[in-house]
């Protein structure tokens, strides 16, 4: 297990290194820092001098070395717009996005497992057929459209839910959370449902098809032959085997969910990373864009590593491969 973890962490580091190269490349090609940092009144000579001082005339690998060295210490440059370290801005915006992703994942988990399992066990029931039909619709409608329709229905027509913002926040250290107040929950409900609207149907279908395949296997037939109850066969014998591929895909999809926050946050004016990212693109705030990329990359690598470790716990053959 430990060998497996070390190998996995090593792989994670390589991925992070590659992300840093891409981040650096973007920084090099998006905008001119001198133009962004200086005003109109600065003369051409001063600009040249400034450029030299910032090290922008050094060869790219020296610049990359500096970038990487700073990045390791958590310094990803200063946001042109906020005039503050990009890392600081990211960390300030991250809780909003992470909470949104967390609540969406919770929704996906709470609904996809029972619905997927049910539609696998009773594939011919009316409910399963209706579920499969509606899940196609769910997958097909883009997130921003779902979001706008929800705002129209629940905020404008019914005035049940607020249409923008995070509501009342409670500060826990540096983390502003909306999950401790009712107002916060009312605000997060619609964005998280909208965000989960793509992944939920996918997960239901994934769990259903995996489970149906497992139910056809010999060891399930054998479990029936042992006289076990439906509950035991479905939820212990079949479900545990269904989990393996679902965990793998789930980890990747969680990363995709983070990407989808850009759309959701824009529609709901959700003050998170996605919203910040859109603003940074408009302002061509290169350090902030790079910081966003690095942050999301690291979160994804982290999530995938955790998912792999969980997979190792569920799948006995993986564990052995690590030990021996």
């Amino acid at each position: 297990m430990i060998a497996f973890m070390i190998r996995r962490l090593f792989q994670a580091l390589i991925v992070i290194f590659i992300i840093s190269v891409i981040g650096f490349a973007i920084k090099q090609s998006v905008g001119d820092p001198v133009r962004e940092l200086t005003g109109i009144s600065v003369s051409e000579e001063e600009r040249v001098e400034f450029r030299e001082k910032l090290g922008l005339n050094d060869p790219w690998y020296v610049q990359y070395g500096r970038f990487f060295g700073d990045a390791i210490q958590g310094d990803l440059g200063t946001s042109f717009f906020y005039k503050r370290p990009a890392t600081e801005v990211i960390l300030e915006k991250a809780p909003a996005t992470l909470e949104l992703v967390f609540v969406s994942s919770l929704i996906i988990l709470l609904f996809s497992v029972p619905l997927g399992v049910f539609s696998a066990i009773k594939p011919d029931s009316l409910f399963s057929r209706a579920l499969m039909g509606s899940s196609i619709v769910g997958v097909s409608i883009p997130v921003f459209l779902t979001a706008i329709m929800m705002v129209y229905l629940f905020s404008i027509k019914l005035s049940w839910l607020p249409s923008y913002g995070r509501g009342e926040l409670v500060m826990l250290g540096g983390w502003g959370t909306g999950l401790l107040t009712l107002d916060g929950w009312l605000h997060i409900l619609m964005p998280s449902v909208a965000l989960s609207s793509i992944m939920l149907p996918l997960f239901i279908r994934l769990i259903r098809s995996e489970m149906m395949e497992v139910l056809e296997s010999e060891y399930i037939k054998y479990a029936w032959a042992k006289g076990l109850t439906h509950r035991r066969v479905w939820f212990v014998h079949a479900f545990k085997n269904t989990l393996l591929p679902v965990i793998t895909v789930g980890g990747v999809q969680l990363g995709v969910t983070i990407a989808f926050t850009i759309l959701t946050e824009t529609v709901f004016q959700w003050q998170g990373l996605g919203f910040m990212f859109m603003e940074a693109v408009e302002r061509s705030d290169a350090p902030l864009l790079v910081a966003y990329l690095m942050f999301v990359g690291i979160v994804m690598v982290g999530v995938n590593t955790i998912v792999d470790l969980i997979y190792g716990l569920v799948n006995p053959t993986i564990r052995i491969a690590g030990v021996k």
Partner: protein
């Protein structure tokens, strides 16, 4: 054997298992297909019966029908499966579940596919015990599991209980499956091609083990196989199946030495040891019909060397041949009084 039977019948004892005119059908989209057509056989307590035939003859589905576990869309259309006088084809789901894995155990064909890959051997053993004896303590169940593992000669069973199936070889896994079958001291074991997926050297080992355990534990065995040599070694009686029907049955030694039905004769002639050294192996010409196009009359008639006009029109009933074997063949005069004779 027949003397034991007449003794049992005379004393009014019920047979362990009596399958009577079993018809199994598959409801396919293109229409219904008959998988077995009136299969009948009887098994006494402690008796070992071989169910022999080619792939697709309906042996496996017959075996699974005994515990009412035919894969959909198959179902028992008619007939009876009397287990100690109780018709298992008609009992409640609850009742049949209390018999499965408890009083009738199954051994499947491929041990690599039969055990659940994500559960330990210990879990897969004790869950059966707990299922059928809800009051049993964990320690008790563990002790029984260990005892059965020892019976199938698994070394250091204490350590093995915590391991997963992938840590065992095929032969070991089949031993474990036999141990699972023994857990609840069943009256009957149904083994569906238990050695087909194993190495030849291990095949003999497993068969010997199974036979030994059936004898010491006084368990009935239905051995489903296409391997006549294995059946001859292990069983006392044989039922030969062809295209969904039993075509011949009788004491194993007699069926092998003096087969009555032309199909059985062909099967035995096809054994490699029946051909002389350096000769071509014998084979039955043609192929077994698929379930969808079984010919009218005797289903074997297109391949039969002794085919007569009557064979193409009338389905032959089981009747005595030249010895006490029963054969479904028009070569022998019918027994009018008792069509499903034993």
């Amino acid at each position: 054997m027949s003397s034991i039977r007449s003794y049992i019948r005379a004393n009014g004892m019920t047979s362990l298992l009596e399958v009577k005119d079993l018809v199994i059908k598959f409801a396919l989209r293109t229409g219904e297909v008959t998988a077995t057509n009136g299969v009948s056989f009887t098994l006494e307590k402690g008796e070992r019966l071989g169910l022999v035939g080619e792939s697709g003859a309906g042996k496996s589905v017959t075996g699974f029908s005994i515990i009412n576990l035919i894969s959909k869309p198959g179902y028992i259309a008619s007939g009876e499966v009397n287990f100690l006088g109780e018709d298992l084809a008609r009992v409640s789901d609850e009742r049949i579940r209390s018999i499965r894995g408890n009083r009738i155990s199954m051994i499947f064909q491929d041990p690599m596919m039969t055990l659940n890959p994500v559960l330990t051997i210990g879990t897969q053993m004790t869950e059966t015990l707990h299922q059928h004896n809800p009051q049993m303590s964990k320690a008790e169940a563990r002790a029984i599991a260990l005892d059965k593992l020892r019976k199938v000669y698994i070394p250091s069973p204490e350590k093995r209980l915590g391991q997963y199936p992938h840590e065992f070889s095929g032969g070991m896994r089949q031993r474990i499956i036999i141990a699972i079958a023994l857990l609840t001291d069943p009256e009957l074991i149904i083994a569906d091609e238990p050695t087909t997926a194993l190495d030849v050297t291990i095949q003999a080992e497993i068969m010997e083990l199974l036979m030994e355990l059936c004898e010491t534990e006084d368990m009935g065995l239905i051995l489903i196989t296409h391997d006549l040599a294995v059946v001859a070694q292990v069983t006392q009686n044989i039922a030969v199946m062809y295209a969904g029907s039993v075509v011949e049955k009788g004491p194993t030694a007699q069926v092998v030495a003096d087969p009555q039905h032309p199909y059985t004769q062909g099967l035995i002639a096809a054994l490699p040891q029946s051909s002389g050294h350096g000769e071509r192996l014998n084979q039955i010409p043609g192929m077994m019909p698929t379930l969808k196009n079984i010919p009218p009359g005797c289903s074997f008639n297109p391949r039969c060397p002794h085919v007569m006009e009557v064979c193409k029109q009338q389905v032959p009933s089981l009747r005595s041949g030249k010895n006490s074997n029963l054969a479904a063949c028009h070569l022998y005069p019918p027994e009018k009084d008792n069509p499903s004779a034993r």
